[in-house]
């Protein structure tokens, strides 16, 4: 009983440490020039600094597009690595895992050179393309698809010879949990992009996401901006919370 209580206290302290900055941001957003519990900061954010919301929609566009494309593009690749036998499959998958483990900064320069050669620097595509092809999504798909029994796929091939139909009607319905998990994780990652925007779109301030612009907001509205900035991530998490939890429970290395 004592052990359990101690564990509970430690976990509560840890949870509080995570929640504290969020609560502090929200509480500070309800203050303005010394006065507490006022919505003035939001008023200043939306009305006086109204163009900040354009950056919010930039972020929404990038995060939405990156999430949607990653989920669609990684799916057949995950299937390939999980169910299709070909020479060098495991070696290629190993490369994928290594790339996944690389920190983002390691691939920054090759991405920059590639985007420069494609003449895409300082365009919205420069911020989206590198993040649309994420090895992590392929890896997650692969792990979940590998758990689907081969017999089910063999049985389905008796009904149809189309791979697309097989993927859409047999494999896809089994992957609701990983798709939700990917939606949350990729959305959060792309919503929080900072370095990509600063480096790939340094000469195009209008296409910056809110994550970059947040630091340029006037001091007296920055907490309201940060609270608005948190909202989509909280919503995505609330919407996909249950399926995300299921995916985490089912996941096997």
């Amino acid at each position: 009983m004592k052990k359990r209580l101690l564990l509970l206290i430690i976990l509560t302290i840890l949870a509080a440490a995570y929640v504290f900055p969020v609560v502090l941001t929200i509480v500070n957003s309800l203050r303005y020039s010394g006065s507490a519990f006022t919505l003035r900061q939001y008023g200043e954010f939306f009305f006086t600094n109204h163009t900040a919301m354009l950056y919010f929609w930039n972020s929404a566009l990038y995060a939405g597009a990156i999430t949607a494309v990653s989920i669609i593009v990684s799916f057949p690749l995950g299937f390939l690595f999980a169910k299709v036998r070909f020479r060098g499959r495991d070696a290629l998958f190993f490369v994928f895992v290594v790339v996944m483990l690389l920190p983002f900064q390691a691939t920054l320069l090759p991405n920059y050179i590639q985007l420069r050669d494609m003449k895409l620097l300082n365009t919205p595509l420069a911020l989206m393309l590198p993040m649309m092809f994420t090895p992590f999504a392929v890896f997650l798909y692969r792990q979940f698809i590998a758990a689907i029994p081969n017999e089910l796929l063999e049985y389905a091939t008796l009904e149809t010879s189309s791979v697309i139909k097989l993927l859409r009607h047999v494999v896809m319905p089994q992957l609701k949990a990983p798709i939700s998990a990917l939606a949350v994780l990729i959305f959060c990652e792309s919503w929080n992009m900072v370095e990509q925007a600063i480096i790939f779109a340094s000469e195009a301030p209008d296409i910056m996401p809110l994550s970059v612009v947040l630091t340029r907001l006037p001091e007296d509205v920055v907490f309201a901006g940060a609270t608005i900035y948190m909202y989509p991530v909280l919503v995505v998490f609330l919407l996909f919370r249950e399926t995300l939890q299921k995916a985490m429970e089912k996941f096997r290395w």
């Binding site: 939306f46 009305f47 006086t48 600094n49 109204h50 163009t51 900040a52 919301m53 354009l54 919010f56 929609w57 340029r216 907001l217 006037p218 608005i228 909202y231 919503v235 609330l238 919407l239 249950e242």
Partner: protein, 130 residues
């Protein structure tokens, strides 16, 4: 709970869209617009230079609303500050103006003109220049 999350998310999304579209317009709607003049008329007497301020720009207690500007995140912002001035009597001067030394107010400053008796601003209040 899930349904509530959907409703809450949808409502907040709608609100954000609405505020994005009309935020600038709401600012113009809630911020008083004023007519401003730049104080670039002056009168020289001997070595001293006097700034000419129209009498219409004076409040009931003889002060003026000086407009300060600052580059905001979205646009140029204008704030008003009430300033009490010491006027100089110049017998030969035009009756439509009052005169102050350049130590009181800088040449080129912007003030609200005209000021009617009902006009009242808090110190640091934002205004829009017509």
């Amino acid at each position: 709970m899930r349904r509530l999350s959907y409703v809450f998310a949808a409502l907040l999304l709608l609100l954000l869209i609405l505020l994005t579209i009309s935020g600038g317009r709401i600012y113009e709607w809630i911020t008083p617009d004023v007519e401003a003049i730049r104080l670039n008329r002056y009168y020289n007497k001997g070595d001293e230079r006097y700034i000419m301020i129209p009498k219409s720009a004076l409040t009931d207690d003889g002060s003026v609303y000086v407009i300060a500007s600052e580059q905001g995140f979205s646009k140029q912002l204008y704030y008003v500050h009430k300033k009490t001035l010491n006027y100089i009597e110049l017998p030969e001067a035009d009756g439509a103006f009052v005169y102050v030394t350049t130590k009181e107010i800088a040449s080129g400053s912007m003030i609200i003109n005209p000021v009617d008796s009902e006009m009242h601003f808090e110190d640091g209040e934002k205004v829009i220049i017509k």
